[in-house]
């Protein structure tokens, strides 16, 4: 079976992200004073072949832990869908 995964990566709380701080400050300058918090991050779409949903999720976790994220500074979440080509 082919699965499509959408993977979201952002800095862990406690890691000061200078890019987010500067974007938030720019929003403030534009008058969007209601904007209080902002996180930047990365988005990946990955298709993966696997025997079932559980195995697909396990492999995606491994991929995230070993390469797509740096666990020292980043956290991730993902959604997985059965992919019908």
């Amino acid at each position: 079976m082919i699965f499509l995964s959408k993977i979201y990566v952002k800095y862990k709380s406690g890691i000061s992200d200078p890019e987010s701080i500067n974007i938030l400050s720019a929003l403030d300058k534009l008058g969007f004073n209601n904007a209080k918090n902002l996180s930047t991050g990365k988005f990946f779409e990955l298709t993966i072949e696997s025997k079932d949903l559980k195995s697909a999720k396990n492999e995606i976790k491994e991929i995230c832990n070993q390469l797509l994220t740096n666990p020292v500074i980043e956290q991730y979440s993902f959604d997985v869908y059965e992919f019908n080509q």
Partner: protein, 230 residues
């Protein structure tokens, strides 16, 4: 002694490092391509600066899966000295050989300038030739040199005196004005617990001759040479 200088696609300071240790300090050296794995006969390794694999994904992230990195992990376990400079430091962190990570500079600017370094620990393989009171003048050249680490690991690094260099002003004072990138505790260079791996953002190879503006970088390479020749 013989230095091994690791070269990844996108490495750019390899020739400067060779100049610093061979032309300048008279030591043997050899470029080692990242797909190689043989480190026999190499007394010490330099992982130079640059943009390995175009900094894709994260700085150092793709280099850490190159074949040479498994050999470097074994080499480190055996106790040989390894210095990672700039992108080399980022690679060592991504590989888990050094703690922490390097993220975008606080003001989002690429910084290419001379900095002053306070020697926090001169009792190491990499700093034994320095005087703890001396302020080193060495340039930085990076966009992602902002060293970050979780509070628990930071305590461990500080308590075990694994911080070797900190950004300071010309009087040796540690303050935010002298910190070029926002690194926590002004950290510019750290070593592993065993003390045989140093990662630093400033470029000692670009401060190896007074014609370049400083020769303070020689003290770091000379410390390594003296350690190997002991």
């Amino acid at each position: 002694m013989k230095f091994g200088i690791i070269v990844f696609p996108g490495t750019w300071s390899d020739k400067d490092c060779k100049y610093a240790v061979s032309d300048n300090l008279g030591q043997k050296s050899k470029y080692i391509w990242h797909k190689e794995s043989d480190l026999s006969g190499i007394d010490s390794i330099i992982i130079p600066g640059g943009f390995s694999f175009g900094d894709h994904l994260r700085v150092g992230a793709l280099a850490q899966v190159s074949p040479i990195m498994n050999s470097i992990r074994d080499y480190v376990k055996k106790g040989f000295p390894v210095i990672g400079i700039c992108n080399g430091f980022q690679i060592l962190c991504e590989a888990g050989i050094l703690p922490g990570a390097l993220i975008r500079n606080k003001n989002l600017k690429f910084k290419c300038k001379w900095v002053n370094l306070q020697i926090s620990n001169n009792n190491t393989i990499f700093s034994s030739e320095t005087d703890s009171k001396k302020i080193l003048k060495i340039p930085v050249s990076h966009g992602e040199g902002n060293f970050q680490v979780d509070p628990k690991t930071l305590n461990k690094i500080e308590n075990s005196e694994n911080v070797v260099f900190r950004y300071c002003d010309s009087d040796g004072k540690i303050n935010s004005e002298s910190n070029p990138n926002g690194s926590i505790n002004n950290i510019a260079g750290i070593m592993n617990n065993k003390g045989n791996v140093l990662g630093m953002m400033p470029h000692p190879e670009r401060a190896c001759n007074s014609n370049l503006g400083s020769n303070d970088g020689n003290l770091i390479f000379q410390s390594m040479i003296n350690h190997v020749n002991k």
